[in-house]
Symmetry: C2
Subunit: 516 residues, 2 copies
Amino acid sequence: MNGADALITTLCDNGVVACFANPGTSEMQFVTALDREPRMRSVLCLFEGVATGAADGYGRIAGKPACTLLHLGAGYANGGANLHNAKRAATPVVNVIGDHATYHRQYDAPLNSDIAGWAAPNSLWVKSAESPDEVGPLAAEAVQASFGAAPGVGGGCASLILPADSAWLETTVQGPVLAPRPRTRVGTDAAAAMAARIKAARKPVVLMGGSCCGEAGVTAASRLAAAGVRVMTDTFVARMSRGAGRFAPDRMLYFGEMAMADLEGVDLMVLVETTTPVAFFAYPDRPSVLVPEGCEEASLCGRDADGPAALNALADALGAPAQGGVEDLALPAAPNGRLDPYSIGASICRHMPAGTIISDDAVTAGLPVYTSTKTARAHEWLMLTGGAIGQGIPVAVGAAVAAPHAKVLSLNGDGAAMYTVQGLWTIARENLDVTTVVFANHAYRILNIELGRTGAGNPGPAAKKLLDLGSPRIDWLQIAGGLGIQAERVSTAEAFDEAFERAMSQTGPRFIEAAL
Amino acid sequence: MNGADALITTLCDNGVVACFANPGTSEMQFVTALDREPRMRSVLCLFEGVATGAADGYGRIAGKPACTLLHLGAGYANGGANLHNAKRAATPVVNVIGDHATYHRQYDAPLNSDIAGWAAPNSLWVKSAESPDEVGPLAAEAVQASFGAAPGVGGGCASLILPADSAWLETTVQGPVLAPRPRTRVGTDAAAAMAARIKAARKPVVLMGGSCCGEAGVTAASRLAAAGVRVMTDTFVARMSRGAGRFAPDRMLYFGEMAMADLEGVDLMVLVETTTPVAFFAYPDRPSVLVPEGCEEASLCGRDADGPAALNALADALGAPAQGGVEDLALPAAPNGRLDPYSIGASICRHMPAGTIISDDAVTAGLPVYTSTKTARAHEWLMLTGGAIGQGIPVAVGAAVAAPHAKVLSLNGDGAAMYTVQGLWTIARENLDVTTVVFANHAYRILNIELGRTGAGNPGPAAKKLLDLGSPRIDWLQIAGGLGIQAERVSTAEAFDEAFERAMSQTGPRFIEAAL
């Protein structure tokens, strides 16, 4: 057994059985060791941002980490933006970052870099295995840390640096099996105190994030709603369990002034697995903090807590019923005429099967589809938590690996899809049951909106050119086809509805360009 | 004038007139200010790694920085790998990284991150403009720093963080024009002392890097060769001026044991604008330091020096003639039969016009083409200095913007090309005179070689699958076509020769898939 064997075996013993890989020379020992550990599924990605986004998608669905395999500091950097999103989603991820042999680092060979420095901003935990005997124990520690390394923190990235000699040298040391740090619990006294504050408030609101937005949390939240408390979620959450049979909390609105109008008169904001809501961006003369003047904030629990249990404790203290109201299944009529995000949302609502997982990187088109699918069959919605576009395809890859029997739907703005378009090849290669939709409006549409809001004035030709994707027009049929996925382009609501129904009735990779 | 105006004007005043941009909301003021400063050419890139690689290519050819425009820490991360290559090339680059408004950072909005932490590993200089009055002066400082911020260091990245409010608020302060730090000079005494050591040595060698590999350096080096001294270059240099009419120094070999055999008996290694040669990777039981036992090392000058002047001073001290021997133009006959990197090298040698700039990210195919073009018309060869594949297309973008009248040739392994394939769209959009060649061997071929060298054993099916790109086969004609470039696929030496000749006789974007 060499260090690479110890690593992979320890990862598998700790439940990490998927590896999204983009290896190089320093990772060859890991690569060949894969054939000695059949529990680990390895998935090749053609770019590191695909590997890291896939690990995020996997972790959101599986509730445990996948690992990435990255080539030194530069490889980590390429995956950094999607790890930023994973960090904001509190997704457990274990990064295995190859490095030069320990004795070789001092010579500062061309690929040498400050890997720990690169990894620090996005990682809860960064350590390097300086000998083969350290590899296994640190691998176990990394998995444990990925579930939350410190009080107050949810899950996130644990980055294990693996020098080449620590991988190739022999060892007899395997890592232990380590249980994740237990989530903190809200006691009945704290719940009762909060219930009293809620009862005393004129217009209370509960704002929840993190695991509260999964099925157990939403069920608990329905009880609060039944007790007359308005429940909202953060604007962007890692995973929203929604659709028919589930309670639908409100969503904090994206634009600050709209959010403030929506919250008018609220005098108590109870935070559950989240923190003070703030505007996504600052704009001249607009609010940063989205809490009305005079409104008290009160944290029921932080991100390291069992939020669903806290919600249930609060509901108990409020004397709420055991279950609140849920959405009934309601599917719209077939849309017709002009193709737009609303008609697309109607088609998605009509045809997606129960249990569909949606990876949403659709930017301006995302909200109309979201609102259109409130009463669809029950589904899971994975959002862009960190604002770094380019996760829609990779997160779908990982979700499909985590849930091989679910239909996965990847929704992408055309600008966003281009960041990590290489992920389509992995979908084809692994024959994943992913239907990818690209909203082709040939613009960074969101920036046209944001530009006005920043007070930057009227854009001239140079500015307009930086927001325009129309010259040349990206031909998505060719791109998807070139990466091995059968694709079609539709430009009417009827055609989309047909194409989407067909995609939902089959399994395997499909691609639809929605020509807006 | 707002802070964004002050920034762009100061950059232009200091000679920075190209911006490779991938902006977001926090950069909208910069974007609209572009229309008020016609000296700045802005080029939209669909992914940050394209923008940073383009800035590297621009800087290598222009000898001065371009700027990038990146969206917060996640945007910087996406561009990090190509900035690693730029760092290793000592290319001056100015990164403008947008940030949240200063007062908004404290709220830790979703895109907030430790930008300075991200930027540190690759940057010579990182500062944030905390008010609009600081923007102009810091912009001037950044440009100056990009040419070399400290003794001993060549050029590199200067990263200026631009909070949104520093961009949108009014200011009256423009930045000064600052001259780059002067390069250190080697005195005649030091040159004479080194000449004496060379004369006393049995088998001396001069190893040069950095600007020594440009035209002035190569001319100076030819004098040393005429005086009987073997001259070599680093394995990977930022820019090699070569071909007919130029002296051709030897190149340090990539694999350590071959390099050591090549250097057998060398008793003095004189380093000029470079440091001790080391193996690219460590392997079990192979050397890390590529200096023969008992060989003395002697540094004539470091990376902050004027290397060509140092070479000339040394040549003077050796009593060398004013000019040494150069390569004669020698073009091979038309190749025929099997298409391989050697036949492709012959075609490139035959047809590329004088002044061609080659952006080489061809991995295993690169060396055969390099050796095949030694006697071609004079050209500039830009290498993968940092080992992070995925620079071949972006560096070509930047080189073409810097040298609009030159033919640019982008050579790429298929694996490498996929990292930053989005750059093809920018080539099409800007109608750049770039011919892109992809060597489609449908594998990470280099890793098949490296795997054996690392002693990782025989790869099983799982390992083999991680080195294979053949399932599905990437269809490069569709990908290039989808991004707006006319493409053709060739599979014989004759067909490549014809296609390449045609590409060289026209201007504008062309794409050739070499089906190996």
